[in-house]
Subunit: 110 residues, 2 copies
């Protein structure tokens, strides 16, 4: 197997998990933090910042692009990446709604 049975889950459950999955690798967390920290578009210096090979960084950037969290603008021979603010907000709402669930103190048994 090794194949997630997405069909048996709700769209919301699949959405939450696919967003979370993207955050589930330290390189992608580091890339996002760097994009936030510099407050501007970042190109190839991510390879120097993070200690991974260029194709590996490129692959992680692609995954971040696929879920829409970042976008890239071509600037001469380099590409300029930055956070997609609108999608970041949407995503934040989805994750927050999930995290802010609360257990009912009364009926809990452990």
């Amino acid at each position: 197997m090794g194949l997630t049975k997405s069909e048996i889950f709700t769209e919301a459950q699949n959405q939450i998990s696919s967003i979370a999955k993207v955050f589930g690798h330290p390189a992608r967390v580091a890339i996002l933090q760097h994009l936030f920290k510099t407050n501007s578009c970042i190109c190839g210096d991510l390879v120097d910042e993070i200690g991974l090979a260029q194709p590996t960084i490129s692959q992680h950037l692609k995954e971040l692009k696929n879920v829409g969290l970042i976008s890239g603008n071509i600037e001469g021979t380099s590409v300029c990446y930055c956070i997609d603010k609108a999608n970041w907000s949407k995503m934040k709402t989805i994750i927050n709604d999930f995290l802010n669930q609360d257990v009912n103190e009364n009926t809990n048994c452990c």
Copy 2:
């Protein structure tokens, strides 16, 4: 390869990603939602609720236990699971701090 290079990332980055990784599968999202919804401990009926085999559910529960998000109490021949509220709160803070980063509007270029 296939081995994440955790050594090159900060402890915080690794912590964020390992929490997110747990949410990165719809079955675990569904399990947590069910534990919240029922407001009480759930045992083997997770297997009926979610459409996965018993060993698979057991494996996902183990991962949730490993990061401390749930705990299980043995009750006769069955096991009673519930959200670990204290750890859930701690985790929520860590993820929220990451999600609430904001880009500086002024210096953004895309």
